[in-house]
């Protein structure tokens, strides 16, 4: 390309810097979301896979009551088993200073000679166990939350006796990437930690000398997991087997996988929306921009420049904007990706978790932007170069207007002239106008989706912690207890209500489908826990039969009135029964199975026992009650819905609010990109018309209103359209956020609609103010002489 053309390009780019920058920002936003979200997902998946491999993460877990070490050789002999490891694991209360609720620890045994065969831990600081005294390793997140480090001590109630433990190291484990206390939904690192101790110490303390209460397996490549689990269950049955489960049912893995799945969906869907919008904007803006250069193109062609030279020249406008946008987007994406991964690192305890950009991803994102820019520029350039030079150089005849729907509907005569001008301009370029409106609508839609997610999650959490979990404290017993403990709890000063609950592990089987679940035994007249649907309505507890989550019903292909086979996975042998599904409840957390407590006791054929209790307590007596609970050996853990909600909200403040402020930024970039460019291009197309009005005595405000009125109408039309698109996108997002751990409900609050419109309007006003400044500076004298 000749040097002078390059100089023309540079000068004009500088003149159009505002427009070029706004286009580059839209491209940057698209590239940034790809690099941040999809890049984070890739990073997390790779970290997960490496971590699982390096730490020899097990394929199968099987908890049981107690089995002698001699059983190991028989387990190892099962077909398909590659490696076997056994251990002793218990929950116990931790005695920590300055906590309003007792803390809980999961104790897991480690071999003193060498490392575990499976589920190896990784030492983050300090050292591994030496086998001496009461040495303990603690999980990293717990250590950080409690500000504990090697050399500190910690008191725990182990099998009813308070013991002082010496912390020798801080560790992480793939089993506890996501450390959730039993019965809770979110990590509570202040009050829940994993503690590893020597098998030689933990075994005798829990009467497990020469025995174990959990076995883990890894499988051979060609193994059939279902068959191994079945045979293992059979083998463990005489030893109080509680039901083996595969990795896909391992609690930390389930949550991690759900998070990763969500990440993958968001990491794909959001960047696609952004890149699509960026592509669309590039196309729109560049084609209009180049249309205003009609005369220049004709002159170049008249001088003998070839069509491809002219085309390339104008394509460069697009490519410069894309290059600036890509550079900016990549830099921001890397920074954000790093921050995003840092945020995940707080919840997922991965070693070596560092954001890594795959060049292919960057290439793909850039490719899409370049393609969009090229397509946009080329359509306009092709239109411009197709015209014979002589015709293109002739002054353009007055823009063609003719009577349209405005006249046919007889509205025109009712409107002031200024409004007629605005409406006729829209009417004259219906496609451009529509596309601009769609562009602005995307800004509204993105805000609707972002805020809908907040609405959904907040609604879900409030339902969970205020409507469903109405107790002040939830106690978990270290083993099933009889009614005696009810009276102990009832007598505690400040306890106003005690409701016992029972949880029994079971397998539901319907045809070839099966699923391990916990059956929750409910009190028919319970007030602290009821069956609550996502709509907020309570569901009556039937005297017989099961009430199950809709999600579980779908998984097992069950409907109300169907019969389902149940295997109780507790006690000496597996008991099988057939029960009726009395109800299916649409809820949004977990895969729940509810049953009348008395009916459940009959089913298990044992004495009426409880796995824990829900308490209502006087607020003043909280501290005193906690002190008592800490000293009750039967109580393995205490959780408080209020504390859980607090935890959740602080996490929400971390992640969702940050995410939403970014969405606000993105939406503004899009709105400004469309509105500012639209107004600037209109100004260049209609500058002479507007300057004429100024000459004839129109005030600056009146003139600006004529120009900006068009953008205002397009923005107003965009809002309902954006709500509609946002509604559709939210529906799709809600559908993708349905997993076994949680189901985000599809509700969009009126606040979301209001705010999405407001933010877009503010961006529109900001764009208008910038352009208005240009209207004020129209050259009034030039208009008398020159034609465009």
């Amino acid at each position: 390309m000749p040097g002078v053309l390059n100089r023309k390009l540079l000068r004009e780019l500088w003149q159009l810097k505002g427009q070029m920058l706004s286009i580059a920002l839209v491209v940057a936003t698209g590239i940034m979301t790809v690099i941040t979200m999809r890049g984070s997902y890739d990073t997390l998946v790779e970290a997960q896979q490496n971590y699982y491999r390096d730490s020899r993460f097990a394929d199968i877990w099987a908890p049981l009551k107690r089995a002698p070490d001699t059983l190991v050789s028989r387990i190892a002999a099962l077909a398909g088993v590659a490696a076997v490891d056994t251990r002793v694991t218990f929950f116990a209360t931790l005695d920590l200073e300055g906590l309003d609720a007792p803390a809980q620890g999961q104790f897991v045994s480690l071999p003193v000679n060498g490392r575990p065969v499976l589920n190896d831990i990784r030492i983050r600081s300090g050292r591994y166990l030496s086998g001496a005294g009461d040495e303990v390793l603690i999980s990293e997140n717990f250590a950080m939350a409690r500000q504990l480090s090697p050399g500190d001590t910690l008191r725990a109630i182990i099998n009813g006796r308070s013991r002082e433990l010496d912390i020798v190291g801080i560790a992480i484990s793939p089993e506890h990437t996501y450390a959730v206390p039993p019965g809770a939904l979110y990590p509570d690192d202040e009050r829940y930690g994993v503690l590893w101790m020597s098998r030689d110490v933990l075994g005798p303390a829990y009467d497990m000398d020469g025995a174990f209460n959990e076995v883990t397996l890894s499988l051979a490549v060609d193994a059939n997991p279902r068959q191994v689990i079945a045979e293992l269950n059979q083998l463990l049955d005489p030893y109080g087997g509680l039901g083996a489960y595969a990795r896909e049912n391992q609690p930390s893995h389930i949550i991690l996988q759900a998070e990763l799945d969500q990440n993958r969906i968001m990491g794909t869907a959001i960047p696609i929306v952004f890149l699509a919008v960026a592509a669309f904007l590039l196309n729109l803006v560049l084609s209009r921009l180049i249309s205003t250069q009609r005369t220049e193109i004709a002159v170049l062609k008249a001088f003998g420049f070839r069509t491809d030279e002219v085309g390339w020249h104008y394509l460069m406008y697009a490519l410069v904007a894309v290059a600036v946008g890509t550079l900016l987007g990549t830099l921001l994406g890397l920074l954000l990706g790093d921050a995003y991964i840092g945020m995940y690192g707080k919840y997922f305890d991965f070693p070596n978790l560092h954001y890594q950009l795959k060049p292919g991803l960057l290439l793909m994102a850039t490719g899409i932007s370049v393609f969009a820019a090229t397509a946009g520029a080329l359509t306009a350039v092709r239109r411009a170069v197709a015209m014979p030079p002589a015709e293109a150089m002739r002054p353009e005849p007055p823009a063609r207007f003719r009577a349209g729907w405005l006249e046919r509907m007889q509205i025109a005569s009712l409107l002031p002239s200024s409004m007629r001008m605005i409406l006729r301009n829209i009417q004259r370029k219906p496609i451009h106008s529509l596309l601009s409106s769609v562009g602005i609508a995307f800004s509204v839609a993105i805000l609707v989706v972002g805020m809908f997610m907040l609405d959904g999650v907040v609604f879900m959490m409030e339902q969970q912690f205020s409507r469903i979990q109405r107790e002040d404290l939830m106690l978990t017993f270290n083993e099933s207890r009889d009614d005696a403990i009810y009276y102990d709890l009832r007598q505690l000063e400040g306890v106003t209500r005690v409701e016992m609950y029972r949880v029994v592990p079971a397998r539901l089987r319907a045809g070839h489908r099966q699923r391990e679940v916990s059956i929750q035994g409910m009190l028919p007249d319970g007030r602290l826990r009821r069956i609550v649907a996502s709509s907020g309505e309570t569901y009556p507890l039937p005297a017989q039969g099961l009430v199950i989550s809709q999600r579980l019903a779908q998984k097992l292909d069950l409907t109300r009135g169907d019969s389902v086979a149940i295997e109780i996975l507790e006690g000496r042998r597996v008991a099988r029964h057939d029960l009726i599904v009395s109800g299916v409840v649409k809820d949004f957390m977990g895969l729940s199975v509810y049953m009348n407590q008395d009916a459940l006791a009959q089913l298990v054929q044992g004495p009426k026992l409880a796995s824990g209790a829900y308490l209502s307590v006087d607020a003043d007596a909280r501290a005193e009650i906690n002190r008592h609970l800490k000293n009750l050996p039967a109580v393995a853990g205490v959780t408080s819905p209020a504390v859980m909600l607090e935890n959740f909200e602080s996490q929400l403040a971390d992640s969702l609010y940050i995410g939403i402020s970014f969405l606000v930024g993105f939406a503004s970039v899009i709105a400004v990109g469309v509105i500012y460019n639209g107004a600037r291009i209109s100004l260049s197309e209609r500058g002479r018309e507007l300057a004429s009005l100024r000459v004839m005595g129109f005030r600056r405000g009146e003139t600006a209103r004529l120009l900006l009125g068009e953008q205002a109408i397009l923005t107003l039309l965009a809002i309902p359209l954006g709500w509609l698109i946002g509604y559709g996108l939210s529906y799709a997002v809600a559908a993708s956020l349905q997993n076994d751990v949680y189901r985000v409900p599809f509700t969009i609050s009126s606040r979301t609609y209001f705010l999405s419109a407001l933010i877009t309007l503010l961006a529109a006003v900001a764009s208008a103010l910038i352009v208005r400044h240009r209207v004020d500076q129209l050259d009034l004298i030039a208009v008398l002489k020159t034609r465009e």
Binding site: P398, R400, F401, N425, G697, F698, E702, I781
Partner: protein, 219 residues
């Protein structure tokens, strides 16, 4: 290269009288457009003073000049500058909407002989018709001063004559002080006063004893 100060206008002293038709004659670059811009409140002289009755135009800021144009000045442009999205009637109405005591848009268009083209858009009219709409737009707000910048510059002779005859008639019938800029000396015969400009100065000022009729003009 040092900066060179170029005076667009020098030693200009001119009076416009109510109701008169003034023709400003001069070649390209003679300063006639600059003079018109200053008279019309589009530009301010770097020195000197200009009064519209008692209003000192040289002291007004940009908003003050806008109000002056809005209340007192009508413009006719060389290239018409009609609003393409408005019909003939609406183009006129656009201006009468912001005027204090305008004539009805239809009447203004009758005055320029376009009573039958009221609902046509600019793209549906010839150049002469468009310029007559522009004249109707210029006079409809009953301005005290009508400034016309090469009103026939883009038209052929026949159409140009028609447009001039309209300007002549409007001046006679409404008594609007009218200034026409042109480089066409023949048009000078139409005016009460003819001012010749060259190199930014008024070189000659002629007062015609009687205004010629359009039919007598040859160009």
């Amino acid at each position: 290269m040092g900066e060179v100060t170029v005076h667009a206008l020098r030693n200009v002293d001119i009076d416009l009288y109510a109701g008169e038709l003034l023709v400003l004659l001069g070649a390209s670059g003679s300063g006639k457009s600059t003079l018109l811009n200053i008279l019309g409140g589009l530009d301010v002289a770097s020195s000197g003073s200009l009064y519209y009755h008692d209003l000192c135009l040289h002291t007004l800021d940009s908003d003050g000049l806008t109000e002056y144009r809005r209340a007192h000045v009508g413009f006719v442009f060389q290239f018409y500058n009609l609003i393409p999205s408005l019909t003939a009637r609406e183009n006129v109405k656009l201006v009468t909407d912001i005027a204090k005591d305008p004539m009805p848009a239809d009447e203004a268009l009758q005055l320029v002989g376009l009573g039958d083209r009221l609902d046509h858009f600019p793209s549906q009219m010839s150049g002469g018709e468009q310029q007559r709409v522009a004249i109707a737009r210029g006079v409809a707000k009953r301005p005290n001063v009508l400034l016309c910048d090469e009103p026939t510059g883009a038209l052929d002779a026949q159409t140009g004559k028609l447009v001039l005859s309209v300007l002549d008639r409007v001046n006679r019938e409404t008594g609007t002080t009218t200034a026409i800029i042109t480089h066409n000396a023949a048009i000078g015969m139409l005016g009460d006063t003819v001012v010749h400009m060259s190199s930014g100065e008024i070189v000659e000022r002629t007062v015609n004893s009687s205004r010629a009729s359009i039919q007598d003009i040859e160009w």
